[in-house]
Chain length 190, copies 2
């Protein structure tokens, strides 16, 4: 009888098989993800996330627009708190990304996790966003700080610190925050 | 009787007052936003977003952890689709950010919007995330493409294209994707 090796809730056999499939056919690693944002009123919009492209085909595990997110600003930024704002979503995304990386790589290394949290915060100055840019101002975060907390059954402090660094170095969201991404924008006027 | 100028659902009087307050006291522009991610199982985590710091004080318009987000991966990435993944959240955040910028600046300029959507997609290659890095690979998006669609009552195509460019240049999320942000990570081992 075949048994499935699951650790931290990660199917390690599938992880190993995925790595093997990409080594055999590099294009299996290519993904295109999507989100659509629709403005509602004032600072309130909704975003829909659903299907994505994987190795040139549309993944069928989700329906179109399966996940719906609310985005808004707090009153001090002219909104009504229907949801977190855009920069808060980026901080949450960084925590999600680090968590997935930590959990999956721990599973691959035989480390059994008990708890893992990431507290993420970022500083921003509104001058540039509001068109009041001074010489050194940028619109986005001037710094992002992360505090991870981890508890594992069978790993040393050094194991976990080394894994944390590895996760930082290979995190997709960490990468796109720490390094420039080419952004192309087109506008259709109806 | 005082009347409030609201356009596109944006309180234009409050927007003008906010700009004036920042011009008078630059530190009013300083914000620190936060998110906490807690791992659940496998690739599934939740993130909580609530209070934030504004001009050195904690904003009281939200309770702690008021907004809860689900983050997960699709089955092909070892998850169970409890929510969008981290990079999809970043794409949604970019759409939210562009929408807020467009709507608020349109309101300030007297442009009345009817519809506004942003479709955002990004290409990623999993080699680096999976530790299979080839020379040119990076963990995150190699390109992000955005298609905006806008309909307004009282603006020319040129007005809207100019506004779209201005929003790109002043978008906090656009900035942190297009330019490097300093990231500091600490780990507590329990």
């Amino acid at each position: 009888m075949a048994t499935v090796t699951t650790r931290n809730g990660i199917n390690v056999d599938q992880l190993v098989a995925t790595i093997g499939a990409i080594q055999a056919t590099p294009d299996v690693a290519k993904m295109t993800f999507k989100a659509t944002t629709e403005w509602r009123e004032g600072t309130h919009s909704i975003a829909k996330v659903g299907t994505f492209e994987h190795a040139g085909k549309t993944d069928t595990s989700r329906s179109a627009g399966q996940f719906e997110l609310q985005g808004d600003e707090p009153p001090v930024l002219l909104g009504n708190n229907h949801g977190p704002n855009a920069v808060e979503l980026c901080l949450a995304a960084l925590g999600f990304c680090y968590a997935v990386g930590f959990v999956a790589n721990a599973a691959a290394k035989g480390i059994e996790l008990e708890d893992l949290t990431y507290e993420v915060e970022g500083d921003i100055d509104l001058h540039a966003f509001l068109g009041l840019k001074r010489s050194a101002d940028r619109p986005g975060f001037t710094e992002i700080r992360v505090r991870g907390r981890v508890r594992a059954k069978n790993a040393t402090r050094e194991d976990l610190e080394s894994l944390c660094q590895y996760v930082q170095d290979t995190s997709p969201v960490g990468d796109i925050l720490a390094h420039p991404v080419p952004l192309k924008v087109d506008l259709d006027v109806a």
